[in-house]
Symmetry: C2
């Protein structure tokens, strides 16, 4: 009576999995330092010592939270681009690349909370690193940047490597800004964000950046 054994969604999972889920949510909402091991274990309905038993410490639990999601997220980002370029063949253009990338970037923010949390975690980690220096870059940021730069150069032949990287910066900067903006508008603990607003942002960023890339690729006159 006093202890409901299965009245919550993920109650039947392993303690280890419950810890990962609670930690992911709390780290994303409050950051590494502001989240205590006691809060995590309380949310996971288990003892304080569980974190050290299953993960060896708070820092390694934080690392495992990232490693569980990063590979899948990187494959989505890079895979969608390659797939779209392949399907379009010779019809591929800058707008296709940008709408595809923008969509793959924003999808996790809409449909499921899983992806939104790892985006929040990455944004925090960029500003306040608590992971080994290479983790985020080697398994996520650098491959995605290279993938987008390569795709842009395929559809905009006038784009040299340096300009392509600058355009990647402009596009990613706009998209990351969406995350910050959406959190400030709807709060950090909202389960998901309104799809129509995000889609309006996606259409704008695609249009804005398509013109930007073409201008940079085509020299001053076009």
């Amino acid at each position: 009576m006093t202890e409901g054994p299965a009245h919550q969604s993920a109650e039947s999972d392993t303690t280890r999995e419950r810890l990962l889920e609670s930690a992911e949510r709390l780290f994303a909402e409050r950051g590494y330092d502001a989240t205590s091991v006691r809060e995590i274990t309380q949310a996971a309905h288990c003892n304080v010592a569980s974190v050290n038993y299953h993960f060896g410490g708070k820092d390694n639990l934080y690392l495992q939270v990232f490693q569980r999601r990063l590979d899948a997220l990187r494959r989505i980002r890079t895979g969608r681009l390659e797939q779209a370029l392949e399907e379009a063949g010779d019809d591929a253009d800058v707008e296709l690349v940008l709408s595809t990338f923008t969509a793959s970037f924003m999808e996790p923010l809409i449909d499921e909370s899983e992806g939104r949390l790892i985006m929040e975690l990455m944004a925090r980690e960029m500003l306040d690193p608590h992971l080994p220096r290479h983790v985020l870059f080697e398994t996520m940021i650098d491959p995605v940047r290279r993938s987008l730069a390569s795709a842009l150069r395929q559809v905009a032949p006038g784009l040299d490597q340096v300009s392509a990287e600058l355009c990647v910066h402009s596009i990613v900067g706009q998209l990351v800004h969406v995350i910050h903006h959406a959190r400030l508008r709807h709060g950090p603990d909202a389960p998901s964000w309104p799809a129509e607003e995000l889609e309006r942002m996606a259409r704008h960023i695609t249009r804005f950046s398509t013109a930007g890339v073409l201008a940079v690729a085509g020299g001053d006159g076009r």
Copy 2:
């Protein structure tokens, strides 16, 4: 001998001012939670109790660090835009607005460390708020956004209010991304960042965004 009375730059200032400077630097480097009152007072060469004596607490010290800089920074951002529009008169165009705003946004990152620190602080505060909700928005973000949106609509008459705000989002997103990118490249404790690299970024963002704004303002065909 053991106590150098004036061997440091700001040694002769008041304890209150030394606290503000140490706090600004440490909060910018490590964030609010990761910076302890003891670290701040040690860096300011004074006692732990000084923070509570002069500011009433860590949270109010943090607030005062912001209030000391925000007004000046807002005036730079908005003032430069009005000044440039006034001087150019009828020759004002989108590129002028964007190069002016980009320059005013990036200048604090180059010439002096004072401005760079408040930029870092604002970036952290956006992700992990520790100020009263309204401070950052009412005295900084909203006025600057309105100023840039207004300037854009003056030089791009086809731009409606909603599209102008979306363009502001795109431009600010790129510029904020520069700060994050520069810190990751050159470390959070670098006194300033290489001017030539920032100027290259500024030129790119201006060109990229000019084309973006014109495309959004001009409808699909132009």
